[in-house]
């Protein structure tokens, strides 16, 4: 009767498992930083109003933020009248609301492949 013997060193497996949470969080933060930079560019490019001073467009930004148990991306105007661009006139000049759908979808696509692409 043939016998098969397998030898393996589980040290690397143990190390990877113990490091998994930190590695995963680091990757999530990297994705959030990348997505925030991409979103800032998208906001400035796709804002659908005609510029007068350029202040509203240039003042659009998205920044990542994280803490225990959460990662988020802020999107905001820098001009005081940004709220009216976003909510008045049937929201026809809104840019942050569509960005939540479009950039949110892009973010989810990146997160979907995150585990597959993680390096040990």
């Amino acid at each position: 009767m043939a016998r098969t013997r397998v030898e393996y060193d589980d040290a690397r497996l143990r190390k990877n498992i113990s490091n998994f949470d930190n590695t995963f969080r680091r990757n999530l933060r990297a994705v959030a930083e990348f997505q925030a930079a991409e979103t800032t560019g998208w906001l400035k490019t796709n804002a659908r109003w005609t510029d007068r001073t350029g202040a509203a467009r240039s003042g659009l930004y998205a920044i990542p933020n994280w803490g225990p148990g959460f990662i988020e991306i802020y999107m905001a105007y820098s001009v005081w009248y940004g709220i009216w661009l976003e909510t008045a006139h049937d929201r026809k000049y809104a840019i942050i609301t569509p960005a939540m759908r479009i950039m949110g979808d892009a973010l989810m696509q990146k997160l979907n492949g995150l585990l597959d692409e993680m390096q040990p």
Partner: protein
């Protein structure tokens, strides 16, 4: 361009016309720059982006549309009647499936979007009380 079947379904419904208080009260949002009615309800339809959630040879995905119901706030801020109009719009367009309008564009299906319904809002630009509904419309945009 909006698939004509949606517009036709809304403007040809007598019950919706009664709720709105007359005809000629449904417009595409990007085609108006000021409040289109000072004496009652009006509806604005806005066609937004098409999302392809994953690379696909079909190159098709649902297009977001929002349909808003407005009423000048100096007339009333009763949101029940606005909600009743949104409910009627739901009844008219959600059943559309594999249907074409006079433009020949076939709508495969319409589902609720996210958020399905907005909160009660005041539109400071048009000076109206307003709520809106969001939908995802799957149609042959590239055939338009």
């Amino acid at each position: 361009m909006m698939p004509n079947i949606i517009y036709q379904r809304l403007v040809n419904d007598s019950q919706l016309e009664t709720l709105l208080g007359g005809s000629g009260r449904i417009h595409e949002s990007q085609s108006v720059d000021k409040r289109v009615s000072d004496n009652g309800f009006f509806v604005l339809i806005s066609f937004e982006e098409t999302l392809l959630s994953a690379p696909s040879k079909l190159s098709r995905g649902p297009r977001t549309i929002t349909i808003s119901v407005h009423r000048p706030w100096e007339i009333d801020r009763d949101y029940d009647s606005i909600t009743a109009i949104l409910n009627r719009i739901d009844e008219l367009i959600l059943p559309i499936e594999d249907e074409s309008g006079t433009d020949g564009i076939r709508v495969t299906s319409i589902r609720r979007g996210s958020p399905a319904r907005s909160a009660n809002h005041s539109d400071e630009g048009y000076k109206t009380a307003t709520r809106w509904a969001t939908y995802g419309v799957l149609y042959q945009e590239y055939a338009a």
